[in-house]
């Protein structure tokens, strides 16, 4: 059975695009439409990779990423950020939260800005999962 990949994105069109790419490349896609739902699914489904949007209702990807990286049992979950929000904004946001007294979190290893080509997404997923 293929590796489990959780797509966390509020846009159904983006989820459809991502899950199609995943299925075509032999992965088992799972879906969540916001950060809160994503966190629950990460805990229950233990995916091999999370493809994470940033700007979403309920809880943003910035918060979910922070929750994952500051939780000892979840910090090893691999994360690929896929967002319309620029990577430098993501990093500045995490830096601002650290300055406000929250824990420091590592930079995401893989970050793609939307829109992304299907081949590039597939190649990045493959690289992320080793």
């Amino acid at each position: 059975m293929g590796k489990k990949v959780l797509v966390v994105d509020d846009d159904p069109d983006v989820r459809l695009f991502n899950t199609t790419v995943l299925e075509e490349n032999g992965y088992l896609p799972l879906e969540a439409e916001n950060g809160e739902e994503g966190l629950q699914m990460i805990k229950s489904e233990k995916p091999d990779l999370v493809i994470l949007d940033v700007l979403m209702p309920r809880q943003s990807g910035i918060r979910l990423y922070r929750e994952l990286k500051t939780n000892a049992s979840l910090r090893d979950v691999k994360v690929l950020i896929l967002s319309g929000i620029a990577k430098k904004t993501f990093l500045r946001s995490q830096q601002a939260l650290t300055e406000f007294g929250e824990s420091q979190v590592p930079e995401p290893e893989f970050y793609l800005e939307k829109p992304v080509d299907a081949d590039i997404l597939a190649a990045t997923i493959k690289k992320t999962l080793g």
Binding site: L55, Q59, S93
Partner: protein
């Protein structure tokens, strides 16, 4: 914790925009709410169904829906980036549907503490038949609604909304609840004006003594409210006006150089409101000043 000890916190704000009515400049004037715990802003744009609905010979206007959605998305990404970089949490809703229904749904889903909207652009006749957006929202929402008016549109309003609010009270439970709400936000307030508009009929035909007593009694009650704001560290002054409440509250706001009008809102049913109107709703729609409406019960 005892109810009276529970401080109101505005942790999450739902910012409902059509872009031409509310922009990032308006949002910036509300960031002082961070002092009162604001840490999460949710943007919302509702594409009114009739803009993209089925039309004879055209069908569902999918391309127009995508254009409107993506235009909103690009604008929200830009605003979100600025807020994320300040360490704030940001969310977005772009929906097709009825404005009031979609806002009510988002408030429930997000558990927002405050809704900010622009002034309704409906005509009087449209408002009568369809109901004004403000009326619809107040009726549906358990949280306060700030009807924002751009500062640049008014020569009278300078400053950020919570800087120098004017609160009008008629001693009704609704208006006294508005006082309690504003007291919780005292750390944001530089100066508050507490106003009562006496009914002209109470003064007409009465002796000078009776008229003065009416004024003196009202003033004494207003001073009690002022004392509570002063105890919280805000400067507070009381004023008694006489006449039509809508006109006099507007006059008071102008004379006091207020930055916002705060009113309690009672729960009249929709048809009573459409036929008779209500002072808070009229002020929210017509005043040059941003207007904060506090609902009957804050949920």
């Amino acid at each position: 914790m005892h109810e009276s000890e529970r401080r109101m916190k505005i942790g999450k704000l739902l910012f409902v925009t059509k872009f031409e009515d509310l922009g990032y400049d308006a949002l910036k004037t509300l960031l002082s709410l961070r002092q009162s715990g604001l840490e999460h802003i949710v943007f919302m744009y509702v594409i009114e169904r009739e803009k993209v609905s089925m039309r004879r010979g055209i069908g569902y206007q999918k391309e127009e829906a995508i254009r409107l959605k993506e235009t909103a998305n690009i604008r929200f990404i830009d605003w979100a980036e600025r807020l994320f970089e300040q360490g704030m949490e940001v969310g977005v809703y772009i929906q097709i549907g009825s404005l009031a229904a979609e806002v009510a749904r988002a408030v429930r889903k997000e558990e927002a503490d405050l809704v900010v909207i622009g002034r309704s652009h409906k005509t009087g006749l449209e408002q009568f038949y369809a109901g004004s957006t403000v009326t619809e929202l107040i009726r549906r929402l358990p949280v306060p609604v700030l009807v924002y008016k751009p500062v640049t549109n008014s020569p009278f309003v300078t400053g950020t909304p919570f800087q120098r609010p004017l609160i009008a009270t008629d001693w009704s439970p609704a208006s006294l609840r508005a006082v309690e709400y504003l007291l919780d936000l005292a750390p944001l307030i530089e100066e508050v004006r507490v106003v009562h508009v006496a009914d002209a009929e109470d003064i007409e035909g009465s002796s000078v003594m009776t008229a003065q007593k009416t004024r003196k009694d009202a003033k004494a009650r207003l001073e009690e409210i002022c004392a509570r704001f002063q105890a919280q560290g805000s400067t507070a002054r009381s004023h008694v006006y006489v006449g039509d409440p809508e006109a006099e509250i507007e006059r008071a706001a102008r004379e006091c150089r207020a930055t916002m009008v705060v009113l309690g809102s009672s729960s009249k049913n929709l048809w009573v409101e459409r036929w008779l109107g209500s002072t808070p709703r009229k002020i929210a729609e017509n005043s040059a000043f941003p207007t904060l409406l506090i609902p009957p019960a804050i949920g």
